[in-house]
């Protein structure tokens, strides 16, 4: 079996395993997997604009929230099926991302990052003012235990996100993104249409959280500004992607799974201090492995595998035969 076949077999097994989870009938395990899938998916979404394009954002929760609210409003006011509403949310956020990206992506580095944060905060406050969002009261969706449906939805979105990232990782678009991450001005002079490229990345990074947010609303059956526009969720997403390795294909996956595990273990063992340990971990990892876990591990393994340099042929032995 070639390496490639082995890789694909493993992925297939993982996929089958993930799909089989609801059949255990255990709601708890399902919710664990759902949460992991959700955060991993969010990390993938974040990874495109922040990892590949290099535009760190602290406000992707905006699209997550909008997605959640569209599903909430759609299912209660228009009695539409929730997944349809979630799809609408994806389209809506994609459309929204165009003007928003065009405006905000003019900003660089920390300005963009915090600008997006400011946007998310403004949205949270203005939700109180818009009547059909239910304001601070929130919206109660039809009650139900929707774990299984939402899990499959989230899994599908996660797989979509992984496939998308895999494509970007290898194609010209991804190359352009990385070019503008390295040096935007240089990329521009080399003929990369930086504006279009980064807005496209921004759109992709908007669709994924929107779809996931839609599922989240159906999962909780209740939306209200604080739990939906949650800085907690945003911070965790960012931390996961960082730990795993920003701008890589498997970074968000490793970061997502690893962090969910660590998070669970820490909060059970150290309920009062787990945040502290967590933050220290993030800092330590950033200092020790600035590119994240995946690239570092990959480098190490590649380094070990390098074949010994062949002896350079001694010049004396080279004869010029005439």
């Amino acid at each position: 079996m070639t390496q490639r076949t082995l890789g694909i077999t493993i992925l297939a097994l993982l996929f089958l395993g993930a799909v089989a989870i609801p059949f255990t009938g255990n709601g708890y395990i399902l919710s664990l997997f759902y949460t992991s899938a959700l955060f991993t998916g969010l990390a993938y979404g974040w990874n495109i604009i922040s990892g590949y394009a290099g535009y760190l954002s602290f406000g992707q929760i905006t699209f997550f929230g909008i997605g959640a609210y569209i599903v909430a409003i759609g299912t209660t006011r228009f009695h539409a099926p929730w997944y349809l509403c979630a799809l609408v949310a994806g389209v809506f956020c994609a459309a929204l991302a165009v003007p928003m990206g065009w405006l905000m992506l003019r900003l660089k580095g920390p300005f963009f990052a915090l600008g997006m944060l400011g946007l998310a905060q403004s949205l949270r406050i203005s939700t109180d003012l818009i009547p059909w969002t239910g304001g601070a009261d929130g919206i109660y969706l039809p009650p139900g235990s929707n774990g299984v449906q939402v899990y499959y939805w989230t899994l599908a979105v996660l797989i979509l996100a992984i496939v998308l990232t895999a494509t970007i990782d290898r194609n010209a678009f991804g190359l352009r993104l990385r070019a503008l991450r390295e040096d935007e001005r240089a990329a521009g002079t080399l003929g990369v249409d930086t504006t279009t490229t980064k807005v496209k990345a921004f759109i992709l990074s908007a669709i994924i959280p929107a779809l996931l947010g839609g599922g989240y609303a159906w999962y909780l059956t209740y939306v209200e500004p604080s739990s939906i526009y949650s800085t907690e969720i945003e911070l965790q997403t960012v931390a996961m992607a960082i730990l795993g390795g920003m701008g890589t294909l498997w970074g968000p996956f490793v970061g997502g799974i690893l962090m969910s595990q660590i998070s669970q273990a820490l909060s059970t063992k150290f309920p009062q201090t787990h945040l502290m340990i967590f933050g220290a971990l993030v800092v330590a990892l950033l200092l020790a492995l600035p590119r994240g876990i995946v690239p570092t591990v990959v480098d190490k393994l590649q380094g070990k595998r390098k074949p010994p340099e062949p002896e350079p042929a001694p010049l004396a032995q080279t004869e010029v035969v005439t």
Binding site: Q3, R4, L6, G7, I10, L11, L13, L14, G17, A18, N26, G27, Y28, I29, L30, S31, L32, F33, T35, S36, I125, D128, G135, A136, D137, G138, Y140, P142, P143, G144, S145, Y216, Y219, L220, T221, Y222, E224, P225, S226, S227, S230, E232, L249, W250, V254, I257, L258, S260, Q261, Q264, A265, S267, P271, Q272, L275, V297, V298, L301, Q302, R305
Partner: protein, 402 residues
């Protein structure tokens, strides 16, 4: 020959597979001990996060009850055991933990978490597993109008919170009222109920505006209130905004004749953090240590001795919830969740809060009433209703120092 670009993928895939395997192993680990002799009651509480302050007191109430009852032999001759997880004030976390309690830990009974946002998600679990859930920390009526059958409000509902402050205003001939509060679900519901009840009492609502959560400035709203010049300021406020608004009103040089903060001013910490200006402030509580209700004196004494600090009304609410559950289990004679559910929907049970009784269709509390408290000389006393009042309300309100 393996191309360099292939190698990383393979490696990363193995890494990911290993991690996924860890995930499954962790989840499958601990397939749950058999139920055995103790009666296990499961719940999640906000030990960390936004609701941690109140959540902490609420948990103590549960813990003390179990401690006390086990000394008396438990329920049905079996010891009680509490299984608590931290939901970090997050609905999704609570949803996961409750399913863990049921599926993994095989708890016999469940009781509710803190806040309506968290409960809204978890009520679905109660319904799915057909396990009745008393909610002693949810006073909004909205979560109970969804047609779910296994959730019961175990504390006084939000509309009750303001009755006393309005009655006091009316009794003292105050005519104009300013209504304000934080624009989040629970205070908003209280504020709406305040406006309604004020009008019904024949008083004038001359100002009605809420401020956002986490506001960095209260001077604007304080100025507006000052300009409206009401007799009474009735505010549906949590702790930090109660402090913020109180200070802003003082700094604006406005002295209302009556100053009321629905929730925030009842915290034992309020006086500590605010100082003497808190004297005269009215607030709501669903309980008081002096109430002559079922087992209250013993509760206060025992709790204080055990934790070396007095209980607050959150502790009392949770303790009372277990009193109700005890009545159900005792009457039914076994851990039969369906029969317990029916009991909870239809019975009256005396507790330290008063008399528990809910609407059988919605689960909304009908029996419990709220008390109006006032800080006097650094202590919080019940001043309304008369049947429970320890002291008369001191009016009009005065600032301690200007």
């Amino acid at each position: 020959m393996i191309k360099a670009s292939r190698r990383p993928r393979w490696v990363s895939t193995i890494l990911s597979a290993a991690l996924l395997a860890t995930l499954v192993a962790t989840g499958a680990r601990g397939t749950g001990a058999a139920a055995g002799k103790p009666i296990v009651i499961g719940t999640t509480i906000s030990e960390t996060g936004a609701y941690a302050e109140d959540g902490k007191y609420a948990l103590l109430g549960y813990q003390y009850y179990v401690e006390e009852q086990n000394k008396k032999g438990g329920w049905l001759g079996r010891p009680l055991q509490l299984k608590v997880y931290d939901d970090a004030s997050d609905p999704a976390t609570s949803l996961t933990e409750y399913q863990k309690l049921v599926e993994q830990d095989h708890v016999d009974l469940i009781v509710g978490p803190y806040s309506s946002a968290v409960t809204a998600a978890v009520a679905n679990v109660a319904d799915k597993y057909k396990m009745p859930m008393l909610s002693p920390e949810v006073a909004s009526t909205a979560p109970f109008l969804r047609g779910l059958k296994y959730d019961f409000m175990a504390t006084s509902p939000a509309p009750n919170y303001v009755a006393g402050s309005i009655a006091i205003a009316k009794a003292h001939g105050y005519k104009t009222v300013a209504v304000t509060g934080e624009d989040t679900a629970f205070p908003k519901a209280i504020a709406a109920a305040t406006v309604k009840a004020t009008k019904e009492a024949g008083l004038n609502v001359i100002f009605d505006e809420l401020y956002p959560h986490n506001a960095s400035d209260y001077t604007a709203i304080a100025q507006k209130i000052k300009q409206a010049n009401p007799d009474a300021v009735l505010s549906a406020a949590y702790f930090p905004d109660a402090v913020g608004l109180l200070r802003a009103l003082k700094q604006a040089g406005f002295t209302p004749k009556e100053l009321f903060f629905a929730v925030g001013a009842t915290e034992p910490n309020f006086y500590k953090e605010v100082g003497k200006d808190a004297d005269g402030v009215l607030s709501t509580s669903n309980w008081s240590p002096e109430l002559k209700t079922q087992g209250n004196a013993a509760f206060v004494k025992g709790f204080t001795a055990y934790f070396h600090k007095p209980p607050d009304y959150h502790s009392a609410q949770n303790y009372a919830a277990l009193q109700v559950l005890q009545a159900a289990v005792t009457k039914v004679g076994s851990i039969n969740n369906d029969k317990i559910r029916d009991f909870l929907a239809t019975s009256k049970v005396p507790t330290i809060l008063g008399v528990y009784s809910v609407d059988p269709n919605t689960g909304i509390q009908l029996g419990y009433k709220s008390l109006t408290m006032q800080w006097q000389g650094g202590k919080d006393y019940v001043v309304w209703p008369d049947e429970y009042a320890q002291r008369k309300p001191i009016t009009p309100f005065q600032w301690a120092s200007r």
